[in-house]
């Protein structure tokens, strides 16, 4: 089929350097003007408000404790996630069990469950009557609200991400290195430790960083399970509710700076970090490579996944069934009582996610091309690469708090636009990161071959780059959409009237009596969110498959 006139015209004008550079420039201006600068500048506009913290030692102690708790829990969760996730990823990537595909699918479940739903499910499982406490002394919660419950929650949602990253790395890894090691006399454990792990080091660091930043940033579910305990994000939320601008700005600033520093340190020191390879314990490692030990390790790692991650994540199914069989479903469908606002919130969440996804796909793709293809040179590419990661590594509520301060200076900006701006910032790196990786994997030869055959730049883009990166394009879009629907921290920080579903659910959990929400209402509300997310993912997948 011949190309439409519009496409032909776009093809033609793409040959003009002025047009190409204008597209790149426009996308970079959008990046700085909407994504990066407002979330950072807002804090500096309220610089003086922080005096309140410096003058109140008790407040300073409370803020410092909250910040330490955030980093402590993030470090613990990332470390344990790596320790427990590595053998599980190994089991999935290399195992020969016939149940493997089922386990592989189950490992992704916490991915598709929005974190607020996950948070409520874990709260019910570990803390509330009717949960696991009943197996012990039913009168007191097995895990009280506080740091341990937060750590369990963060472990549950970061563990699948860690596993997914490592499984991908193991599958991409050239097994020939490990084979060479074995033929040189190394037992399996020695081969993995001295050859495979050092080669996979960058992926292990990436998995650690991902778990660390996700733990540091997660807000909605953390607020649900924190009780009186305060992490950085809980502190920001508490001070936001009480309209204490000074402490909120202080903790936001420290979290943004400290997270950036930690990220920078990992990026700079990571490549220098060496996994020790010269010491070898042949007899011990041979014993540990034994079949029985391997079976024990695999069983233990599966047990950790099932008990700590899977069952608590799916525990919400029980009250959802209760809600479906009781009268809650009728109330929900009729939209009465507490359900009055729910459907509006759901609609708001999906409209915002759709708008945000569309805008980011169009406006961030040129930046991804700039980074991957170094169109403006290696320096500009590295700078954009590092800066585009900022929203990923900094706690979203801190960014949201700062962004809220910035945009409220412009009275004409409606609240829904604030939510969209916040979500654009938070979801931007998910798409850019995915697309940079995908475009880098398309070798320049293909682009050059296309150009020598007469294709213009836009023709190259739509006939070579897009088809060869379509799965990443799809995956990036899905991730961005799901992240937007799930986003709570930045949304909490910018809204005053409107409520997206995660914000509404946090409200239901924190103030059940005031809003009149029963556990069945909350479970069904969280369950519907999962269901809608799942249906939308299936529809998107079907659409993409149908097109190609």
């Amino acid at each position: 089929m011949p190309d439409s006139k519009l496409v032909q015209r776009l093809d033609r004008i793409s040959s003009k350097p002025l047009v190409r550079n204008s597209v790149y420039l426009g996308s970079v201006v959008f990046f700085f003007g909407v994504i990066l600068v407002p979330p950072i500048l807002g804090i500096f506009l309220k610089w003086n408000a922080m005096d309140e913290v410096f003058q109140d030692p008790a407040l300073m102690t409370r803020a410092s404790s909250a910040i330490y708790a955030s980093f402590g829990i993030a470090f613990l969760v990332a470390f344990l996630g790596l320790i427990a996730g590595l053998p599980f990823a190994w089991f999935i990537a290399r195992g020969k069990s016939r149940w493997l595909s089922i386990i592989d699918t189950l490992a992704d479940i916490p991915f598709i469950i929005p974190t607020v739903t996950l948070g409520y499910s874990l709260l019910l499982f570990w803390n509330r009557p009717g949960g696991v406490s009943q197996l012990f002394d039913g009168s007191t919660p097995l895990v009280p609200e506080g740091w341990l419950l937060i750590a369990l929650l963060h472990f549950a949602f970061s563990y699948p991400a860690v596993v997914r990253v490592i499984v991908g790395a193991i599958l991409d890894y050239k097994v020939v290195y490990e084979e060479a090691s074995r033929t040189l006399g190394a037992p399996p454990l020695t081969a993995s430790r001295t050859v495979t792990l050092p080669i996979l080091k960058s992926s292990l660091i990436a998995a650690f960083t991902l778990a660390f930043s996700r733990s540091l940033s997660e807000t909605g579910a953390t607020v649900m399970v924190a009780g009186l305990f305060e992490t950085g994000v809980v502190f920001i939320n508490n001070t936001r509710v009480l309209r204490q601008e000074g402490p909120m700005v202080f903790v936001s600033l420290v979290l943004i700076l400290a997270a950036s520093l930690v990220y920078l340190a990992i990026r700079l020191l990571g490549p220098r970090f060496k996994i020790p390879v010269t010491r070898v314990w042949p007899y011990a490692e041979r014993k540990l490579s034994d079949f029985k030990v391997t079976v024990f390790r695999d069983s233990l790692t599966n047990l950790i996944f099932i008990v700590i991650v899977l069952i608590p994540s799916l525990f919400i199914v029980l009250p959802v069934v209760g809600a479906l069989t009781g009268g809650t479903l009728n109330q929900a469908v009729a939209g009465t009582g507490v359900w009055q606002g729910y459907w509006q919130s759901l609609l708001l969440s999906y409209v915002v996610a759709t708008v945000v996804t569309l805008l980011n796909v169009v406006l961030s793709l040129p930046v991804a091309v700039l980074i991957a293809r170094k169109r403006w040179g290696a320096g500009a590419s590295t700078a954009l690469d590092v800066l585009s990661n900022v929203p990923l590594i900094v706690p979203s509520i801190a960014l949201g708090a700062s962004m809220g301060i910035f945009w409220r200076n412009f009275a004409f900006v409606p609240e829904v636009a604030l939510i969209i701006f916040a979500h654009l910032s938070i979801t931007y790196p998910y798409f850019v990161r995915t697309m940079v990786g995908a475009i880098e994997r398309v070798t320049m030869d293909l682009e050059e071959a296309s150009r020598t055959l007469g294709a213009r730049p836009f023709t190259v883009f739509r006939t070579i780059i897009v088809p060869l990166t379509k799965y990443s394009l799809f995956a990036g879009t899905i991730m961005m959409f799901a992240r937007s629907v799930d986003e709570t921290g930045a949304t909490l920080a910018v809204v005053s009237q409107l409520k997206t579903v995660p914000v509404l659910l946090v409200d239901w959990v924190k103030r059940p009596a005031e809003v009149g929400a029963t556990p069945f209402d909350i479970a069904l509300g969280a369950g519907v969110l999962v269901l809608f997310s799942f249906v939308i993912l299936l529809v998107l997948r079907y659409v993409v498959r149908g097109r190609h």
């Binding site: 290195y177 084979e179 074995r182 033929t183 040189l184 006399g185 080091k201 390879v277 070898v280 042949p282």
Partner: protein, 371 residues
Amino acid sequence: MHALPDVKVVDVSKKFGTKIVAVDNVSLEVYDKEYFSLLGPSGCGKTTLLRMIAGLIEPSEGEIFIENKPVSKLPPEDRGIGFVFQTYALFPHMDVWDNVTYGPRVKAWEKSKSESVGREMLEMVHLYERKTALPHELSGGMMQRVALSRALAAGGRLLLLDEPLGALDAKIRLELRYEVRRLVKDLELTAIHVTHDQGEAMAISDRIAVMKKGKILQIGTPQELYTNPKHIFVANFIGENNFLEGYVTKTSGGKVQIELRGGLAASGSDTFIKEGERVVLAVRPETFTIEKGQKKRANSLFGVVERVRYEGTNIRYEVRLENEDMVVVVRPSLMGEWFSTGDRVTLSFPSEKSYVFPYPSRGLQEELAVE
């Protein structure tokens, strides 16, 4: 008399799924201190067979013996082997020294012994002075030599080489193949070398197994395979051959009279062919003598020179016979008369240097195909 077999492969097969048979009921013996090659086109199963000997793949059927011990259940680290990979597989995070001493280290040899072996092996491949270099800082030839010294330093007596020279430039490949053989012979090792390059296999091997589609077609010394191929594929794959189709008109005393297409007559040697059988006569290009004009004598064929190519050492003529078959004739460039395109010539060959094969049931092209 041969030494005891160092490696014995007995009825070994490897199946992937239900449809793919990579190695099909193969048996062979590799003798102590022998340089043995597995030769065949891509996908013939030679690498799979080598990887089974190394323990990197488990056979579906059959047994492998190393030094008379069954090893099918033994992991690679316990087989006492050295393995050189086509892609070198040098550990990218270790320098040359750590790569070469990796084997002694993981086998817990004493430090002094590890170091002396590492030094000896690196000196043997003339790379001791590059011991602190990382793999990506070396050229392809250097990387291959490090990979070889690493495999040797692990102390195994059986060296397995999987297309070890395949990724190198032509000139370096020629140099290194003799170096590899020299090292194996100096260290009195047994080597099994996988290659698809018949020139390489001929140059370095004591014996060669020619494989096709998972089966071994013939095992023999390079000379045996060249001068006495038992299979039409071997006759084609080792060296070069002209194949002329015809029918047997008479057999007597190991000699076969053949009527070629177009009524041309020729004779060849074979003791198993019967009269009336459809056959293929194979004559190597260098076996032909070529002279101007049409001279009637035994085993002579008339034709016209269609193409002449000067190849340095040799001149290559493509001659169209009277029956329209095309044959290739190769003559030393510095000896005898030269011919030009359009010359009418007579080609002759001694019947004892030609081979007669039954016409393949699946067709000639299919039988000769390398893919």
